[in-house]
């Protein structure tokens, strides 16, 4: 039997012409397609069900998808290379996206900065970058949550539960957000017991399963008995650490199902709150702020439910500190404080609020952290 493909020369030409027009139309700034609703694009650096960074963003995207009048397009596993520029341009030109959330840190400079000036009517919202009016295009913006507070609370849980007085941190790259998390984790633990030290191991990659497992084992070999991390997918760190008998503090998303008995608490993103808010603004025709920040009090960040291993004393201090942070005005980085290289960070009486932009340029590890930024 022969299969006849119902494609005649004329129909083919018609279809080709129509699709060419469609492409041209969607490339124009004021296309008809865009007026009918809002298309929002999300770009992730890894798989969107990684128990971590990307899953947290994808959960936010799912909340946006549930809104009416909004179409969501997503792409996973986009590396922080020129690939992300292609992904952004294809979302703009072919899907008619008018609001983009390229979520990985390395997407901003130089990739978003290269694409944004070409599409003045598209809004680029980037997670984590430091936007400044004099350097960056007006149609780009940055949003982030003060998750360092969450790591401070993790540290309080860790400080109560550690027996060896050594806690550990598996970190990806020494960028300001990661350094703030490490410092906050230690300072939280030191609020319980000033003798505690924190060992940090940098893997150099956002996602590198074998190295993360090796790093976790190396920490356990040093007697570390509470572990947290800042890598894209904490699953490997959590499972390896639990296998070595350490307690866990989560990050990005709730990892309690991986080791319920060992999981103390965790600092989670709550992007659903942030994304639905921003999309509502876009639908109403308002301009989204260029520099959006929020913490526990604003609902950008939340804590995992406390695990069964937590002692009463730990629960008490955790709850008290949590309440104090929710009141506002709580500072983690406050004097007198030195870096682990001996440099003075803050003199007595000086403190940095969580919203202080100086914290987003952090390039030091505080005293008590064993590790270096380079």
């Amino acid at each position: 039997m022969t299969v006849r493909i119902p494609l005649h020369r004329r129909t083919f030409l018609k279809a080709a012409g129509a699709s060419a027009l469609g492409v041209a139309a969607s490339a124009l700034p004021f296309s008809a397609a865009r007026a009918s609703g809002l298309t929002v694009g999300f770009i992730y650096v890894g798989p969107k069900d990684d128990y971590g960074y990307n899953q947290a963003h994808a959960e936010g995207a799912a909340a946006v998808k549930a809104m009416s009048g909004v179409t969501v397009v997503e792409e996973e596993n986009v590396p922080e290379t020129v690939d992300v520029q292609k992904s952004m341009e294809s979302m703009i030109n072919f899907d008619g996206a008018a609001l983009l959330f390229p979520t990985s840190f390395g997407y901003f400079d130089p990739h978003i900065l290269a694409v944004a000036p070409k599409y003045k009517d598209v809004r680029f919202e980037h997670c984590g970058g430091l936007w400044s009016a004099d350097k960056h295009p007006a149609n780009t913006g940055s949003y982030f949550g003060y998750i360092g507070m969450g790591q401070y609370l993790n540290g309080i849980a860790a400080g109560h539960m550690t027996k060896s007085k050594k806690i550990g941190f598996v970190a990806a790259k020494p960028i300001p957000q990661v350094l703030l998390n490490i410092n906050s984790f230690l300072l939280g633990a030191r609020a319980v017991d000033p003798a505690i030290t924190c060992r940090v191991i940098f893997t150099g990659e956002w996602s590198m399963a074998v190295k993360e497992a090796e790093a976790t084992n190396a920490l356990a070999d040093q007697g570390v008995d509470v572990v947290t991390c800042h890598v894209d997918g904490p699953k490997v760190v959590m499972e390896t650490a639990a296998g070595r008998g350490a307690y866990l503090c989560g990050y990005h998303a709730n990892q309690a199902p991986l080791a319920p008995e060992k999981y103390l608490t965790g600092a989670e993103w709550n992007w659903a709150e942030v994304y639905t808010g921003m999309v509502k603004q876009a639908l109403a025709g308002e301009t989204i702020g260029n520099f959006v920040r929020g913490g526990l009090a604003e609902g950008f960040v939340k804590m995992s439910p406390l695990g069964p291993a937590m002692t009463d004393a730990a629960r008490k201090q955790f709850a008290a500190t949590h309440a104090e942070i929710m009141k506002g005005g709580f500072a983690v980085i406050k004097g007198p404080l030195k870096s682990n290289a001996g440099k003075v960070i803050a003199t007595a009486g000086q403190s940095f609020q969580e919203s202080d932009v100086a914290l987003e340029r952090m390039d030091y590890l505080v005293e008590g952290v064993l590790g270096a930024t380079s």
């Binding site: 128990y51 191991i201 940098f202 399963a209 190295k211 993360e212 190396a218 997918g233 699953k235 991986l258």
Partner: protein, 308 residues
């Protein structure tokens, strides 16, 4: 827990533990590649086979609840990829290196496609035997937890070396690998022998993948491999096509890979990116040290497309 602070001793201990933990995929993939190359073919696709084996092993182990059935499935999937490579290369005028690269991309693509639903679930782990019972130090106990597959890999290396040296099958593989004409004159079937060697090689690489996802690091995600499959192919050249040398080379790589995290954990923190490059620097150094200006690659099978 007795005295837990072992200070700098933890570095050699971590390297030993790391060598045992990290090397197993290297062992299986390099033994598989060694067998295939000894028969006169190069299968560069083993990276893809490794990743697909990791996915298949994890998925099947999760669905059936048995890690060993997962390992079997990974071996079968690897064998199927090997068969595809072997069959394509038996067609006239086909380049095995190009097919290998295509297979690598195919294997990874298929693994990512079918592996989507298995990123979140937790599959059962392969069992490990603890050889550290004599020690009180938890570090020693942890370092000497040896997975059954590691021991199987060691036994396999010995068996393969013996096979090449002392058995009729080993001789047949070596003859086919050294000269098509000589093999035909002896009445050996060149294509069938290479096909079988490629299938077996693929199956071994699949098992290596199952180790990654079912024991260490012990979960399936798309970044699981970090290039072990490609490195293992290079290891075979480094080990001069000798199975026992493959085993030691794999151990060396595993140990060198553990150096970076271990040094950071004891406070040597400057230049960790450099320590992470240690395995590659080591390979380059050893290749240069063992190279010769007078001979071509010693021990290379004569019919290999890179030596021919």
């Amino acid at each position: 827990m007795s005295e837990s602070d072992i200070g700098l001793w933890s570095v050699p201990l971590a390297m030993l533990g790391g060598a045992i933990r990290v090397s197993t995929p290297f062992i299986f993939v390099s033994l598989g590649e060694c067998l295939t190359e000894r028969s006169g073919r190069i299968n560069l696709g083993l990276e893809g086979v490794l990743v697909f084996g990791a996915m298949a092993g994890y998925g099947v182990a999760y669905e059936t609840g048995s890690a060993w059935i997962g390992v079997g499935a990974a071996a079968m999937a690897g064998g199927a990829f090997g068969a595809l490579h072997g069959w394509l290369c038996s067609l006239p005028k086909v380049n095995d290196i190009a097919i290998g690269i295509a297979l690598m991309l195919l294997g990874m693509g298929l693994a990512f496609f079918f592996g989507k639903p298995y990123i979140q679930p937790v599959a059962p782990d392969l069992p490990a035997i603890s050889f550290g019972w004599w020690s009180d130090a938890p570090q020693v106990v942890a370092a000497l937890k040896v997975n059954v597959l590691f021991l199987a890999g060691f036994a396999l290396a010995l068996a393969m070396a013996w096979m090449f040296r002392a058995t009729r099958i080993g001789l047949a593989v070596r003859v086919v690998g050294d000269s098509d004409d000589a093999a035909r004159a002896l009445g050996l079937k060149v294509n069938q022998t290479r096909f079988a060697a490629t299938v077996a090689g693929g199956a071994l690489a699949g098992v290596g993948g199952a180790y990654l996802s079912l024991y260490y690091p012990g979960s399936w995600n798309e970044g699981i491999s970090s290039g072990q499959g490609l490195m293992a192919v290079a290891l075979v050249i480094f080990a001069r096509w000798n199975p026992i040398a493959c085993f030691w080379a794999a151990l060396l790589f595993g140990g060198a890979g553990a150096l970076g995290p271990a040094l950071q954990s004891v406070g040597v923190t400057q230049g960790y990116y450099l320590f992470y490059a240690a395995p590659y620097v080591l390979t380059l150094g050893l290749l240069i040290a063992t190279s010769s200006t007078t001979r071509q690659l010693t021990g290379a099978p004569g019919a290999l497309s890179i030596t021919r």
